[in-house]
């Protein structure tokens, strides 16, 4: 392959000059047709992050992929934003010669299998909504010319723009990504090949600006943010279609959260070459199990810490570019399976021991913090949320531990003065055990109503200790 390229390259170069001159017209029309085609499906997704400390309006680029359905990079809906705080979602259809059109929408959800998220138009409008764009699963080839089409920031009227560049490398990483030699348009842009086929999506990465508009940047007087930063600091990586095809084929349904598959192994580590050789493995990706959730799927199937996973369903583990990436690749592979699927792992229990097969039946990934119900005790300046699996696991508490978790403490508030801290796990309020969020909410409201001048006394678990926190209400 290499030899061939070396031989043909001078020939190509020699021929190129006259050809280029001849093809100027067709290339321009290809660019124009890609730009037209793409921009008819590009929209802005705007929402308000309604947090305890204030509202923040954010907008980013998305692409219509189905009837009223818009796909955006998951980076726009940071997994740390609680779902309940994502409000006032709008789809903006940019117009050049008239006002932008704003359509009400709802947040459908994130798809952690593929790093994309979806919003759906909720109001019916008179005229046709934007037509969906079809993505094609073509693996980008190094050297191939690609075009990205995206939207400029709000400061430039969300105008669509196009860049031409070349595929520089296909990277594996925890998820595949494609490096280009030049620049790509803003996050949420669509990447096309020279046949005009949509072959990828520009994802958030590194310090590249994710948003086309951020009200916080507007408000910053001390350190002004360049609203056109994406022009000077453009993305250089895109995600090939194959990585998010699953989401397009089976997009998340409204009101039916995705059930993600899980085996209950929170800690995995890729072995280095030295370590692999010590365990007698040669040129073979291997992942060591660090911990298993007691009574989780893996634990029940017999997987144990320190065992080394070599194969999944008889096939060697996928390679990463670095051993550090192996756990991510494996985790992602499992995430893409379905709840109830069986997976057979071939494991090495230790040095000079025989490999064994262990079959694990995947279960549903437990709820995560961003979907947990919350309660903002605005009067005293703190928020709590339901406990989720990771809260008890990370604190080494029994999985049936009751309580609520402090998710926010306002500075200069009663709770702040009382030195209540984020991540405190509240087990008692006013001498009564806390069982769940609902009970906490109603007991709290009742107490504050009946005894508005009395202090609220919370007992919390903080790291290795418990603390008694007395929150004095403002006078």
């Amino acid at each position: 392959m290499k030899t061939q390229t070396a031989l043909t390259l001078p020939l190509l170069l020699a021929l190129c000059i006259p050809v280029l001159a001849q093809t100027t017209q067709p290339a321009a029309s290809l660019t124009q047709s890609i730009l037209d085609r793409a921009s008819s499906s590009l929209v802005v997704v705007k929402f308000t992050w309604d947090a305890e400390f204030g509202k923040r309006e954010l907008a980013g680029g998305g692409v219509v992929v189905g009837e009223g359905l818009v796909m955006v990079p998951m980076g726009m809906f940071d997994p740390r934003f609680p779902d309940a705080q994502i409000t006032d979602v709008k789809i903006i259809v940019p117009e050049v010669n008239s006002d932008h059109e704003e359509v009400s929408a709802k947040f459908v959800g994130r798809d952690e299998r593929t790093n994309v998220a979806f919003v759906r138009r909720s109001s019916l409008i008179d005229r046709d909504f934007k037509p969906p764009l079809t993505f094609n699963d073509f693996t980008p080839v190094v050297g191939q010319t690609v075009y990205s089409v995206g939207l400029l920031p709000k400061a430039a009227g969300y105008k669509s723009y196009i860049y031409t560049t070349t595929v520089a490398a296909n990277l594996r990483g925890e998820s595949p990504s494609v490096l280009v030699s030049g620049a790509l348009t803003s996050v949420g842009s669509v990447v096309f090949d020279d046949q005009g086929r949509a072959i990828g999506l520009v994802q958030a990465q590194g310090a590249v600006p994710i948003f086309l508009y951020d009200s916080r940047a507007d408000a910053r007087q001390d350190r002004p943010v360049d609203p056109m930063a994406v022009v000077s600091n453009p993305p250089r990586f895109f995600t090939p279609t194959r990585d998010f095809l699953l989401s397009l084929q089976d997009p998340p349904k409204d009101d039916a959260p995705l059930k993600l598959a899980w085996m209950g192994v929170p800690s995995l580590r890729g072995l280095t070459k030295d370590e692999s050789e010590f365990f007698g493995l040669v040129d073979q990706p291997a992942v060591e199990i660090g911990d298993t959730i007691p009574n989780g799927p893996a634990d029940r199937a017999g997987l144990k810490p320190k065992q080394i996973i070599l194969k999944i369903d008889g096939k060697p583990l996928e390679r990463g570019d670095e051993p550090d990436e192996l756990p991510g690749i494996l985790r992602r592979q499992l995430l893409r399976k379905k709840v109830g699927d069986s997976v057979t792992f071939t494991v090495l229990p230790g040095r000079k021991q025989a490999q064994t097969d262990v079959t694990v039946t995947l279960e549903e990934l437990p709820a995560r913090a961003n979907t947990a119900a919350r309660f903002y005790a605005e009067d005293l300046g703190y928020s709590v949320r339901e406990l989720v699996f990771i809260d008890t696991y990370s604190r080494r508490l029994p999985s049936d531990q009751k309580g609520v978790l402090v998710s926010f403490v306002k500075q200069q508030s009663s709770a702040g003065s009382a030195k209540l801290l984020g991540n405190d796990l509240v087990t008692e309020m006013n001498g009564q055990p806390v069982t769940n969020l609902e009970q906490f909410k109603s007991d709290y409201a009742k107490f504050r109503k009946e005894k508005p001048t009395e202090a609220v006394v919370l007992v919390v678990i903080r790291e290795a200790n418990t603390q008694t926190i007395r929150i004095e209400p403002p006078r």
Binding site: S267, E275, S394, E428, N465, R470
Partner: protein, 482 residues
């Protein structure tokens, strides 16, 4: 931390609730002494700081104040190494014992003392106690005799009778400026930093005493030097300060008296003197403003804020939210933060292994539990370096295991490693707990040392370590070259 390093004082200018981070240790210079034959004056409760009086006291104490140049053992980048600093101290008896701060001379392997007459003589560490930030060193008396060097020693006063507002003198070596005397007043005689815990590096300190706060100007290098009343008696050991704020802190001499006695009583030519203390494993909280919540009388008992796992109190059945009313029938009452240290000290002063009857109020019930005290252990265990692997490790203490939420206190914890060493290449991290070496369990530092020796003697070129990192286990393979 011993302080003659400027970065020690690198606290931010604003005074926030993280007071602990802003206090500097004023390690390193100092000393104060008074002649054994200090003439006591006509009883005058708070003699005024007339120039004559101040000069008189200073002249008496000066000849007992020394400067210490110290090399302390520390572990950095996978190796045992020496850290040099300067501090103050004062001679306390005719044997040439010098009292100073732990953060000046604790863990010292090399000490030189400069007397007020500018003579320099070697000294050695007799014992130390990080809990009170005190250390006792002894001047090499053979050298003193051979060179016929005269010296004086100080007389201790009574820090319990110190009055706020009374004049006090500090003597020491601020920034290496030996024999510096400064004058100020006692600003507060029962300062506590509760609930913050002061630390010397990672060593807990100040849990068992309140502090004398004074506006006497002191600076890094004053640490270990004496705070003197106008009778020329030592009332405190200058230890900490908030730079540039005239907010400085001294350890009361009455705290030091007990510590010195214990160190001198336990020291032997082969072993450093120490202070053994008892522990119940409970965190106490003042009950101020919580009395009505717990429905108890004002000034009755102390709140058990937290109970350490596997601690004597936990084993006895004491729970968080209990109100501890009495120990062996004697009431313990903590209404204010200033009262916490004395109750902690009360428990610490009990003999190790003694059964204590704890009377506890739980809801409406009054219960009694019997707890057998454990020996108090700090967060920081004994540390050693293992050059062939390029790693330094520490014993896992019970306190460390509790704070870091480890399953138990077996194993050793990685503290530092040298770049490019087998440990670094195997991606060990600070805080990793080594549980086994080549499949053999590591119960403690001694066991680790033995397994290290066994492996290096056998010239193993691959060593398998089992590591606990957070909740996860991992294997690490050291690739060792000889």
């Amino acid at each position: 931390m011993i302080g003659f390093k400027m970065q020690l004082m690198n606290f931010s200018p604003t005074f926030s609730r993280h007071l602990s981070g802003k206090l500097f240790l004023i390690a390193l210079v100092g000393g104060c002494a008074s002649h054994p034959q200090v003439t006591t004056r006509v009883s005058e409760p708070f003699p005024s700081a007339t120039p004559a009086r101040v000069v008189d006291v200073t002249q008496k104490v000066f000849p007992a104040v020394v400067r210490l140049d110290v090399a302390q053992e520390i572990f950095v980048a996978g190796k045992r190494t020496l850290q040099r600093g300067i501090g103050s101290g004062f001679i306390i008896d005719d044997q040439g014992h010098v009292l100073t701060n732990y953060h000046v001379a604790g863990r010292a392997v090399e000490i030189n003392i400069t007397l007020s007459n500018k003579e320099r003589v070697p000294a050695k560490l007799i014992g130390d106690d990080h809990w009170t930030d005190l250390a006792v060193v002894q001047i090499d008396m053979d050298v003193m005799r051979a060179r016929k060097i005269p010296f004086n020693f100080t007389l201790p006063g009574d820090s319990d009778t110190l009055a706020v507002g009374q004049d006090v003198i500090a003597i020491g070596t601020p920034f290496g400026l030996a024999r510096t005397m400064t004058l100020g007043i006692v600003s507060n005689n029962e300062r506590t930093f509760y609930p913050d815990i002061q630390k010397i590096d990672e060593y807990e300190t100040g849990l068992f005493n309140n502090w004398i706060q004074m506006d006497t100007p002191i600076a890094p290098g004053n640490s270990g030097g004496p705070l003197v009343d106008l009778d020329g008696k030592i009332v405190g050991i200058n230890t900490r300060g908030i730079q540039g704020q005239a907010l400085n802190f001294a350890i009361p001499i009455n705290t030091a008296k007990q510590v010195v006695a214990s160190i001198l009583a336990t020291a032997s030519p082969t072993r450093a003197g120490r202070v053994d203390r008892s522990d119940l494993g409970i965190d106490l909280k003042p009950l101020q403003d919580l009395e009505s919540f717990y429905n108890i009388d004002i000034n009755q008992g102390v709140l058990v804020n937290s109970v350490d796992r596997n601690s004597p109190a936990a084993r006895a059945g004491v729970r968080t939210q209990d109100i501890l009313l009495a120990i062996d029938g004697a009431p313990v009452n903590v209404r204010f933060p200033e009262e916490v240290a004395s109750v902690r000290k009360r428990i610490a002063d009990e003999p190790i292994g003694k059964t204590l009857v704890l009377t506890v109020r739980r809801g409406k019930d009054v219960l009694q539990f019997k707890a057998i005290t454990d020996k108090l252990e700090g967060y920081v265990g004994e540390e050693k370096g293992f050059d062939a692997w390029g790693v330094t490790v520490r014993e896992v203490t019970r306190a460390y295991a509790n704070d870091e939420q480890l399953d138990d206190d077996t194993g050793v914890v990685v503290t530092t490693f040298s770049p490019g060493s087998p440990a670094a290449r195997a991606e060990l991290a600070s805080g990793d707990v080594i549980r086994s070496v080549n499949g053999k369990d590591v119960s403690d530092l001694t066991a680790f040392q033995a397994l290290f020796t066994e492996s290096t003697d056998a010239k193993d070129d691959r060593v398998l370590l089992e590591i606990q990192r957070g909740r996860a286990k991992r294997s690490a393979v050291l690739k060792v070259t000889y």
